[in-house]
């Protein structure tokens, strides 16, 4: 059972990590916990199903289209909801984020209804649910392998964008000193938009994966996933991208093991317990920088 839970946990953890990087990157550049990020994840699942059922497109094109749409939604969210509040106290933006989360959730309910829907299984290759390989007495399905593969690929791409490109370096510069970044001629708003686009497209992939993995989508699915990914970002150290990746994986494994060995009823509780423990014992997270400020 241990191997099986570990594999399940790893799959889940990769998904949390994909969502968590969106929280952490946005926090890095504008010190805002974007509570509506979970809703982008949810919208991705619905948009994907819509693209499949309405346009009959193949799944890989749907994934790319959904990433693009969610990137756009993320940017619009920033422009209309957060940008006007850039000079306001942080609390104003935080409350707006919660407001946007509720707004998007209800918008989805109006458009797609509040009842859970299954994913369009016919759009997926049938072998996804079959066993790809067995390790000891644990079996890994093709789907789990795909989730693992795509998530890893996206993480590598993200890592390269942040560390090797001009705009990625500008993102890091901006998160370290906004005034100084502006003085370098960096268009601060454009880089912030780019950050939202990047985080939202990662979250979009996670949304589609979850909908496929659990074969269900509903307008409030972003809430729980969002809170857990947020916990993962806090665990890794908010503002740190590698931290969010590690935090997501650790949380996924902890959750799967807890569900396997204690009770699956405590599944969600474990994420919160981890978050509370981190806040008490190591508030800066695994890779977070301590918040000591030199005066």
């Amino acid at each position: 059972m241990f191997e099986q839970q570990l594999i399940n946990g790893l799959t889940l953890g990769m998904i949390y990590a994909l969502i968590a990087v969106g929280y952490t990157m946005v926090y890095g550049v504008i010190q805002l916990i974007n509570f509506a990020h979970g809703e982008i994840f949810m919208l991705a699942a619905f948009l994907a199903v819509t693209f499949i059922t309405v346009f009959g497109l193949p799944i890989y094109i749907v994934i790319i289209m959904t990433m693009g749409c969610c990137a756009l939604i993320g940017v619009l969210l920033d422009i209309f909801a957060y940008r006007p509040l850039r000079q306001s106290p942080r609390l104003a933006a935080l409350i707006t984020a919660i407001g946007m989360s509720i707004f998007l959730q209800n918008l989805a309910m109006i458009i797609w209804g509040s009842r859970p829907k299954p994913f369009v299984q016919s759009a997926l290759p049938p072998f996804l649910r079959t066993t790809a390989l067995t390790v000891g007495d644990a079996s890994i399905s093709w789907l789990q392998l795909f989730i693992f593969g795509i998530a890893s690929l996206l993480m590598i791409i993200l890592f390269l964008i942040i560390n090797k490109t001009r705009v990625g370096t500008a993102m890091r510069a901006l998160s370290q000193n906004r005034t100084s970044a502006a003085l370098m001629g960096i268009n601060v708003n454009r880089v912030i938009s780019f950050t939202f686009a990047l985080g939202s497209s990662m979250g979009a992939v996670a949304g589609i994966m979850v909908a496929i993995y659990y074969n269900t989508l509903y307008p409030t699915m972003g809430y729980v996933a969002g809170v857990k990914a947020f916990a993962a970002a806090v665990l890794g150290g908010i503002g740190s991208v590698p931290g969010a990746m590690i935090g997501g994986i650790v949380l996924g494994i902890a959750e799967a093991l807890g569900a396997g060995y204690i009770s699956s009823l405590y599944r969600d509780g474990i994420a919160y317990a981890v978050m509370i423990a981190v806040i008490i014992f190591r508030p800066s997270g695994i890779l977070g920088k301590s918040t000591l400020e030199k005066v």
Binding site: N177, M184, I186, N187
Partner: protein, 235 residues
């Protein structure tokens, strides 16, 4: 080259700059001296478009830049080395320099200026892979100046480059400033260290609580008894 006409800048309700006018001509080093809180940094931030003046006009090469965005201003050729250096602590020295050249596309030119910066400050070449935050204060100031030069500015705004540095390092930095100027870059230098600033400047302005109270050739200001007692420590 740069002309400020009667600008007023506010922080909320605080009237920080109260009708300031100054002029910097091509090729000059102009210094703006004054004590803490006189509005020196605010003046530079107003020029850079970070804190916009509420009234008044700023012209650069005869173009009105009063309401221009910071990136436009940088693109036009005004770069600032801000007070406290503000280097990016978790970017490497090299990445810091690249950020200075953010708006430029000419790879060859960037490479050339990089070499030029390493010539000017050899210590930065040794430390190019180190995080900016691990440098000493003096090295950080050098990095901040080098980073600004990477934008190939026509006008360089320097905000208290001597702040918190040992006298020998200050000497070194000021020598570099003169070299930058003699290679064709116009400089507006804000300083509390009036002695050093007036020595290398062509022209000086004295700022007190948001107003210019005196201006003239640097040599004359140094001879002025009022300046001597208030800013140069000579009775």
């Amino acid at each position: 080259m740069l002309k400020l006409e009667d600008i007023h800048t506010y922080y909320g309700n605080i009237h920080a700059i109260k009708g300031l006018s100054l002029e910097v001509n091509l090729g000059e080093i102009v210094t703006l001296i004054g004590s803490n809180g006189a509005g020196k940094s605010t003046t530079l931030m107003s020029i850079s478009g970070i804190t916009r003046p509420r009234t008044g006009k700023i012209f650069f090469q005869d173009k009105d830049i009063t309401t221009a965005l910071t990136d436009t201003i940088v693109k036009m050729g005004i770069t600032q080395v801000p007070e406290g250096r503000m280097i990016f602590p978790r970017l490497t020295v090299y990445e810091n320099l690249l950020m200075g050249a953010y708006l430029r596309k000419d790879r060859k030119g960037i490479k050339m200026d990089e070499e030029h910066c390493f010539e000017l400050f050899p210590i930065l070449k040794e430390r190019r892979k180190q995080a900016g935050g691990t440098l000493s204060g003096g090295e950080q100031q050098m990095l901040a100046i080098a980073r600004a030069l990477m934008a190939r500015p026509k006008l360089l705004l320097l905000d208290e480059p001597s702040l918190g540095l040992a006298p020998i390092v200050v000497e070194n930095i000021f020598e570099v400033i003169t070299r930058i100027n003699s290679s064709g870059t116009t400089i507006l230098l804000v300083e509390q260290n009036a002695q050093m600033a007036l020595q290398i400047a062509h022209k000086g302005y004295v700022l007190e609580t948001g107003k210019i109270i005196m201006e003239g050739p640097a040599g004359e200001l140094m001879e002025n008894p009022k300046i001597q007692s208030a800013y140069l420590g000579i009775d």
